[in-house]
């Protein structure tokens, strides 16, 4: 591997002797490549198989009443009501959602609800990220703002979502600007972006402060302005910090959306579906699991989008390779 890499770099046939000598210790970063992706897919499939195996294995081997120590049940019952077979859950996805004539198949209803939630989560993530980045830049610009704002930003996250969900909803329902009505989904998005901005603000601030002393000195020597330094050094240096922050922000946006849907009583998303189908679980236990799969898929898609952003930003992550 190293042999061929060195060979490849030697190929351009440097002209002077020192360049030849120096190019021997040229390092080529290891890129993920097809092999890396294939390995990730295989690992994901193996993980899924293992999960199904544990589920069905436990269901087959453990007592009907679960594992009870003293009075306390430490592992769940294995009845079909508490733990439906995996194949029943999958089969149920293909059957109609309700017994009404012309009802969509269950997977379709779940997908529709998940897409609605994905859209709201996407908006919240975008708004949260924008607000988070602006706050981070403002705090990086002025020390006073960091001292003044950061404690409030941290404090903001200690207020439970449930506490202000109804307030946002009732404020929203009273907003009407020139014939435009505040739609209910916007309340959900506002609450979810309130969760999503936090990791971005904190992570981006750390990233913006992470550029090295030598780069700061260099730009001072070049008499570069603050914005120029921000654009050419501080933002690019912040990327390795920013990506985990964006990932956390995306997770917060999804969780926030689901929880806010429930607490504001928004009907079209996956959050509401989770609650209402759980209520019907005694009659149709396999059905209750369908929106859970939908929520998991939602999280995976959100994570996947951030991964794509990470790939696009790869030039700025070269430092991480070492």
């Amino acid at each position: 591997m190293t042999q061929t890499q060195t060979q490849a770099v030697l190929d351009p046939a440097p002209t002077d002797a020192t360049a030849v000598a120096a190019s021997v210790d040229v390092r080529v970063p290891r890129l993920p490549g097809v092999l890396g992706w294939a390995r990730a897919v295989v690992l994901a499939v193996l993980g899924l198989v293992a999960l199904v195996g544990v589920w069905e294995g436990y269901k087959a081997l453990a007592p009907e009443d679960g594992v009870v120590i003293g009075e306390q049940r430490v592992l769940p019952r294995t009845t079909d009501l508490a733990m439906p077979h995996v194949w029943d859950m999958v089969q149920r996805l293909g059957e109609p959602t309700t017994s009404m004539a012309g009802a969509d198949p269950l997977w379709r209803s779940v997908a529709d609800a998940a897409l609605v939630s994905l859209g709201i989560a996407g908006v919240s993530w975008f708004v949260g990220t924008t607000v988070g980045l602006l706050l981070a830049v403002a705090m990086a610009r002025l020390r006073v703002l960091e001292w003044g704002l950061l404690p409030w930003i941290i404090l903001s996250q200690t207020i439970p979502l449930i506490a202000f969900a109804p307030v946002v909803r009732s404020w929203g329902s009273r907003i009407e600007i020139g014939g435009w009505d505040w739609p209910p989904w916007l309340s959900v998005a506002v609450i979810a972006s309130y969760l999503a901005f936090f990791p971005v603000a904190v992570g981006a601030l750390r990233g913006l402060q992470a550029h090295s002393r030598i780069h700061a000195d260099l730009f001072h020597v070049y008499a570069a302005g603050w914005w120029s330094t921000l654009r050419r050094v501080r933002i690019p240096s912040a990327v390795p910090y920013l990506l985990p922050a964006l990932r956390l922000g995306a997770a917060s946006a999804v969780v926030g959306t689901v929880v806010a849907e429930v607490s504001t009583g928004y009907l079209d998303g996956i959050g509401r579906m989770l609650v209402s189908l759980a209520g019907q679980a005694s009659g149709d236990p396999a059905k209750a699991w369908a929106p859970i799969f939908g929520a998991v898929a939602l999280g995976l898609v959100a994570g996947g989008i951030v991964t794509v952003i990470g790939v696009l930003l790869r030039p700025y992550r070269r430092g991480e390779a070492r």
Partner: protein, 286 residues
């Protein structure tokens, strides 16, 4: 190599441009103290330093003696606590804004997301040179440091020595009349280091720029410089200097490293550094 000792005034070999009348660096009575949690550190105490235009001066001393601080004061990266500093007759801040000097540190400090060419172009870009002008200048600079074939590489694909050459090309980008270098070869292995020393000597002749070169290696200082300024720690001050007498046009090659005159200067610097006579084979006499 008897010509080594014949040229004893190295100053004045610099570029003959109009503003060349004033010294490249003129520091008088410079004192610098840092307030730390442990107390006040006197990094520089009443330092005087003159560097003529085109002169190559090595600042030598044990670590912690204030070499970097002195260089940073000249570069306007630190303010002196007292005393005055002039760079080409201007304040350091003014000289910095006018891009009168180029700078290189022990770490190359390249931007990892930029290619070699775009790293070298950085100062040119910041100062508004047009794209075609930039391209032409970068090509010239990369040729100068022997890295033309690596223009499109990223820093993490280069060895330490190559990265440092990129940093030097970047420091030379705006044709500065003064080059400030803080142990630029300190992190390199011995072989690379010797090759880089030879290259720097060649560059300093080609560009005619004055150089302030911080080092803690005696042979390195003597090999490169017209004059070695010796510093001692706590508080950081200049304890003496040695004019090497090795003319700028004497090639910096292995022959010079073997030259008895070179060894004599190394011994002389060592004596100044230790403040006591040293025997001819380099060991101290006690």
């Amino acid at each position: 190599m008897s010509e080594l000792t014949t040229t004893s005034t190295p100053a004045g070999t610099g570029p003959a441009d109009g503003a060349g009348s004033s010294a490249a660096v003129s520091a008088r009575g410079v004192t610098k103290t840092f307030k730390t949690r442990q107390g006040v550190v006197e990094a520089l105490s009443n330092v005087d330093l003159e560097v003529a235009a085109g002169e190559f001066v090595a600042l030598l001393g044990p670590s912690g003696c204030g070499k970097s601080t002195l260089m940073r004061v000249v570069a306007d990266l630190e303010r002196p606590t007292s005393g005055s500093v002039e760079v080409f007759g201007k304040s350091p801040a003014r000289a910095r804004r006018d891009q009168d000097y180029g700078i290189a540190f022990q770490q190359a400090g390249l931007l990892p997301w930029r290619t070699v060419a775009r790293n070298v172009a950085l100062p040119l870009e910041l100062h508004g040179l047009s794209r075609p002008e930039r391209k032409e200048r970068v090509e010239y600079l990369l040729d100068l440091v022997g890295l033309s074939d690596f223009a499109g590489h990223h820093p993490d694909q280069l060895s330490g020595g190559m990265q440092q050459r990129v940093a030097i090309a970047r420091a030379l980008a705006e044709q500065p009349r003064l080059l400030l270098m803080d142990e630029p070869f300190g992190a390199l292995d011995e072989m690379t280091r010797e090759r880089m020393q030879a290259e720097l000597a060649r560059l300093s002749v080609e560009t005619g720029a004055a150089v302030v070169f911080v080092t803690h290696s005696i042979p390195e200082g003597v090999f490169l410089a017209d004059r070695v300024v010796v510093m001692s720690p706590r508080p950081g001050r200049i304890v003496g200097e040695v004019v090497t007498g090795i003319a700028r046009d004497v090639p910096r090659d292995d022959a010079l490293r073997q030259d008895p005159a070179f060894f004599a200067r190394v011994t002389e610097v060592r004596e100044v550094l230790h403040g006591s006579p040293v025997s001819s084979d380099g060991r101290e006499l006690r």
